[in-house]
Subunit: 502 residues, 4 copies
């Protein structure tokens, strides 16, 4: 799945003209993942946004030029304004309420301190949810230094709250490119402390260590990476024989995949369409391009609300599934004239072409749930004969010479990240997976993991799931000894073969 592809930081090192342009084209939404609270800010009056407004207006000094000290007296951090710590603490506390799995992990493992001795350098979005993760790692015995994987997504008050409690954080909202790498460097390159674990989201931290401090890898026991992009790079390194420590791909764990795609998109397609267009779903003719997990989620939700949904597919197995699930399988060009909504989720490029956009009916809504901004040929719409009219944030009317309007959402970028929110519960799944991957890699006996990329062991995947069951008051059944023997299973799992499809 492609939801983690982004258009900001992670491409900076390639620094060619095309990427630069792309970067500057989307100045306000650079992140690969726009997190719950940060999106909320644009439309609601949360604490954080209140705080943010304040500091953005009254303080133009770069954090790098400010001398700040936290209450315990440390200045080993760099945030927008340490005084916002109290605001940030409230945000973290609210997030904790929805992340009981992490809190539960904290409690279960706190006695044994499984991360005692771990020195973790992290590079992720810095939000209330990540703060819950970081403070869990600390509670389990780790020392952490942290930086942001995205120049826009940092919640300044949360960074302040972390710094206040002694976590060296280097991040603020609105970093420059230079700031970005400076922050990473300050995390890695510090006197008297050397990381032995890396938690990365996008691969920029890993890239920097490879480039500047390769000797650090002598002590590193493993890398945990959660983005599609970062994982892709690790596999390339591995293929090229250049991966020098074990790495864990947490992006492809079963639990995380199901939540990031099927369950999350089932809700966010409705939310994204509703917030941007106030469309009524009942009776609408909708085509969903691609019937993978994301497409399945979209189709299920839209059908349930009375839309008439058809799909396109290139893969006959997925196409047959769509048939059995009650969706007509068509080619986009066959039905494009009748459609009220066109949704892409193929992971491919140019799935909706200019020729098809030309044939859409007046008022047709077009959006992308799949792969960064490649699926709809938006570039083809930036031509002189068409007029663009922005009618709301994230909503453009493209007007043809004959007056026909096509409604383009989020300029073809990911609708669910641009126009909806990621529920804290989904972030909890991810954070718990990251924490367990760190514990596993840090504690694995010599030889269990080689210099390669690994999927999360199924047993840990199951453990992530089990930590989230109490949220639903779900009661697992336990195998009796006799049953376990009959099934040839360990009573504590793993319960399924690796090829099991869920």
């Amino acid at each position: 799945m492609a939801h983690k592809h982004g258009h900001g930081r992670e491409r900076i090192q390639f620094a060619n003209t095309e990427d630069k342009q792309e970067f500057s084209k989307y100045p306000t939404k650079a992140g690969r993942r726009s997190l719950s609270r940060s999106i909320s800010q644009s439309s609601t009056d949360s604490y954080s946004s209140a705080a943010s407004y304040t500091d953005s207006s009254d303080d133009e000094t770069s954090p790098r030029d400010k001398a700040q000290v936290n209450t315990p007296g440390s200045s080993d951090f760099c945030v927008k304004n340490i005084k916002q710590a109290e605001f940030g603490r409230r945000e973290i506390e609210i997030a904790e309420q929805d992340m009981s799995a992490l809190i539960s992990l904290r409690k279960r493992a706190q006695g044994e301190k499984p991360l005692a001795g771990a020195k973790i350098v992290g590079c992720t979005h810095i939000t209330a949810q990540t703060a819950v993760l970081i403070e869990t790692l600390v509670a389990l015995g780790a020392q952490c230094r942290w930086t942001a994987c995205n120049i826009y997504s940092t919640q300044n008050e949360v960074a302040a709250a972390l710094a206040e409690t002694g976590v060296p954080v280097f991040a603020w909202k609105g970093e420059s490119e230079d700031d970005f790498w400076w922050c990473i460097d300050r995390c890695v390159n510090t006197e008297g402390w050397q990381a032995n674990m890396i938690l990365d989201d996008g691969g920029d931290l890993t890239h920097w260590v490879y480039k500047k401090y390769p000797s650090v890898f002598k002590k590193v026991r493993g890398i945990v990476e959660e983005s599609v992009t970062g994982v892709h790079r690790l596999y390339q390194l591995s293929k090229a024989g250049k991966l020098c420590v074990p790495a864990m791909n947490v992006n492809d764990s079963v639990t995380k995949q199901k939540f990031d795609n099927l369950y999350c998109c089932r809700e966010s397609i409705l939310d994204g369409l509703k917030r941007t267009t106030d469309i009524m779903f009942g009776g609408k003719q909708v085509i969903v391009c691609g019937y993978g997990e994301v497409g399945k989620g979209c189709c299920t939700a839209l059908k349930a609300l009375g839309a008439i949904v058809c799909i396109t597919e290139i893969d006959p197995i997925c196409a047959l599934q769509a048939c059995m699930d009650g969706f007509r399988v068509v080619k986009l060009s066959e039905v494009i004239r009748q459609m009220d909504v066109v949704i892409t989720c193929t992971g491919n490029k140019n799935v909706v072409t200019r020729e098809q956009l030309d044939r859409m009916k007046n008022g047709c809504i077009v959006c992308n749930m799949g792969h960064s901004n490649t699926e709809i040929d938006v570039a083809s719409l930036r031509s002189p004969e068409l007029t663009w009219e922005r009618v709301r944030s994230q909503v453009d009317h493209i007007i043809w010479p004959d007056g026909k309007r096509v409604v383009l959402l989020a300029e073809g970028r990911l609708l669910n990240l641009s126009c909806s929110t990621v529920p804290t519960f989904v972030l909890s799944i991810t954070a718990t997976t990251q924490a367990l991957a760190l514990i596993e890699l840090f504690n694995a006996p010599e030889g269990r993991y080689k210099q390669d990329v690994y999927l999360l062991p199924k047993k840990m995947d199951e453990y992530v799931a089990s930590l989230h069951l109490p949220n639903f008051d779900a009661h697992l059944t336990e195998l009796s000894d006799e049953q376990a023997k009959y099934m040839g299973l360990n009573k504590n799992g793993p319960f399924k073969p690796n090829y099991y499809r869920y």
Copy 2:
């Protein structure tokens, strides 16, 4: 259904202490219906809000004190700023695209001008959608004078656009109470023009005419009323023998009811919860109090998205329906401790009591989809031992001494009107119904309607539906002569007996 009960203008005339208080308690949401665009303004950057911001900041003069003239030279209107007409025209044009039923009615009836000679005085929300209605009435031959039924809901630029084309409009956003009645008076009391039809939404216009200009009723052929409140008053007048012209209750037409309740709430419950709380629906335990049309809509949608839904009912027939639809029927007190979300839609009062609020679990979300603000005993929460914390617009955390938080949405007012939008399609159903009711009453032969309150004739109800079918590319089948005879039906309808339940 109770969605049209409001707390603002329509009670002013009773002017007792209680009502006054209630009125002032909700200064920012006085309307009985918060319309699509007006709600959007709070969270999005539509044209209109841009316009509104401008004029609210640079112009503090009361419209009553301004001399304004439209392009044709008339000054028989009173709006905020006639220069906003162009902005308003664009809003109206966009609305027209989603109200093709009215446009279609305009075309079908334009030749015969069924409203030629009609002099309609109207009192409704003044929005782009209403403008499409008003301009349809004019196209069908009517003369119209218009005022607002709500002091906050007027879209100023739309009012300007109407005034510019010659419709005498008296309305602006943020009227005072005195302004409100002054505007109504200016509509009714004008030299050389006397209304023969009344279109009302809430009953204030009707009330004013009864009180100040009873002689007007000598010429009036009928009143069309669309709100629960207004209809209720008409039935009271009728009972009391004081209704002196025929009135048509368009609130209870089949089509309008289904759309206002079942279809609209099926979508707005999701939208309202999502926008306010970013909740993930999957696996949530939800209780819906009341399994009428609103409850059915809520339950269907939530179940479809993976919530585990149970219901409460007082009516055994509805309870049995809930069983057959797969919902457990419980008493609220039996399950309150397990619930993640509590939704009221009973039309009753004190459905959720303080005692039950006390027993809710931490994080439980409570909201009302049913009846104004009576269903949840919100007053009981305004007590010293509880802390209210506003975390977003429309979202309060009520904090118990032990730290438990209950999440109260919209302070117990209607969630779908406070935190969601009404799709234009639903407004189109209502507007078309109003237009047809006006045509019917105006053209009805002597004696068809007496001094009583009537439901829309089923055939016209069917006609409203048929005008909206092209939106879905739906093709009706026609009865053959033989089939019509066999069924004992007219080929053009009505197709069902009056007691048919749909």
Copy 3:
């Protein structure tokens, strides 16, 4: 709804050629309702069928010619074989387990004996379920005499069980036309006993009394009728001013209607198609003609199992509902070539014409859920160029000259009655409704009911529902005094206005 129209006994009195023919055409399925157990007999080995087989082979004497005495010594009955009473008793006991509402009514009302003094003559199907009804009436104080409304549907062993306990029953499976009227006559025309209540299903008993013993009506307090046909006749009598006692139409009670149509058909469409054709529903293109309650039930079920469903409608309101529920609204001729299954439920005639049958694709399945056997033009298929091949019971392949096969189910008769079963729960709803209607009419104060046809009072409709809620462990909420006052309702109901649509 048209499910109770039949083609057998109830038309005998009109005795014209057409009806006679129709009657003889379907010798094995004469009944207007084929009840659960009686259908089961054809395919399963229930007790009753075992019993039936036995007696049909070893005993050819007409029951009218046999002298039989029950254990208490009475011979005031005429059944196939009184010795089967024990078999029948077991059938009744099993039925009682699924008819707890009647048992509950028996218990609640047993003390007060609300039918003490009632002398009920009844004419219904005689099955285990009816026996539970009859024995309930007796337990409530009534004296009953009973006969069958259908010459084929009697369960002989159940009749025997009733006779054994002292109920004068005159009925057996396989009566001749003469037997049929003889049995009715024996029920009505008996020394020293005169009926004061009539319970009829189809109107034959009522007809006989009108024709032969009009004086009986002097004592009769009311007629309870449950079939469409019988109700239709009563309305005709009423219109003609010939109805001389109050009659209650229990067919149109809310609860009964919903169960007979929506809930029952939602299940029986699947069952009927599966048992006859073993079709896999997933991915099938299905058209449902008619989107009333029956059509809604069919569509819901088929869509849920992965079929792609479209509908036809003549009524724009129902068509709009279909749109909002996610079904394309088409004309049959537009899509007939693509359909895998065609289902009629319009209540009309010639909905599927020969011309459309000609255009169906090979293997298309055609069946009727709506109105007796008029909906599909089956007669047009009985032409020389087409070959009929019976491939299973109730399944014919109609073979076109080019080899195309259309699969016709139940020769176009009602699929759900021919090829599925009616769940006991649905029969319990009907029986309870009948019992309450009898109690109401028998106990109503002078003047409450005139010589007219009445619907079941809403409060009793609600009571029927409430008696069935314990089956689902459903807990009703009770109104507080304050709430009842606020709503203007009696705490015990009725809870809805008469026009409420459920």
Copy 4:
């Protein structure tokens, strides 16, 4: 998945007391898969059953003792009655209409004859559907000899039709154990013909060749096995280093798995329950033990029809899926008293214990959709204090001393195979998969497959799916060259990585 475990032939060779007993306990349902038509026979009047009845009554001679010759003059076969060939041909022709994928494969590959030179010995159920497979193999160039994998499932008239066209078939309904092995032997051990491919269903043929004619394996290019049992044995052979040719496990192909489990059970759970108990699903409290593919299918269908479903799970990932899909996750013992229906689909043993059966409420229905007959502890019910009463075929009432009845279906064996049918479409998926596996193994270049067990290559899995898409008029989209390059895919597939979960 466990659907292919059976209790008949495949265990004969182990011939211990326990197996013998089990075998004789279920004399009428010995097969591991009861196929569509053979099941139908018990309840419907298909051609075949008519035929079967005839020959069973008029001919008691063993086929082994009869001299029969087909029209071309060959006697190299052994069937019940070669004269039934015409009946059988009609059955095959009807099956062909639902197996267009095989017919299509026949046409596509007929020119190139990919099986020219193949000598296939097959051991499967012998039914109309298998006949379509066999005749496809012949059309593609193969020579075939065939025998039955089950002593009861052979459709005699189909065997006759195959023999008539020259396929040496050795099989009849009601073989003895000795007959069974004699038939296998006659297939393998024939003068002048030596098999080079094996198609097996259950492993008995493979077992026999291993035991009696191991030298045959020198020429054999591969084994294709479709049952769980047979596949299990092959893996054991492989582990033990005794597998001497490549084997293909077609049981675990994606397409076959989804259809055998999710899609098939979604329909058969309803069908199986309805045919046996006439239960109404609406409002029923149902517990489904196990939320794998079978459980997911059951839950989806029952929920859609208004049942209130909860589940049990041992695997936290599946449990979390159940939560997100809207099902409460409980332990069986917590809720057993409230349940109306208990369904097992865990693949485990003793999932429903006697203690739980003791606590069920009166009328509770218990059935198994999962693993042979181990899931419900039926043995514990065969104790003196309980009375068994057979009320219908496949339906037993177990009566407790206090009168409580539990309704046990199919004596705890697989409900979907005992009381429902397998749609021809599902059999078509399986047969097409078998054909493609044979083509692949027969044509694979030296070295592609070693002496191991292989899954069907994903590309062929996709091909099976694509051959079935025309049934749904589904139109696949093709990748453009540019898109294929972007995705790194071959335009003809495979389209997904091996670990993809669908």
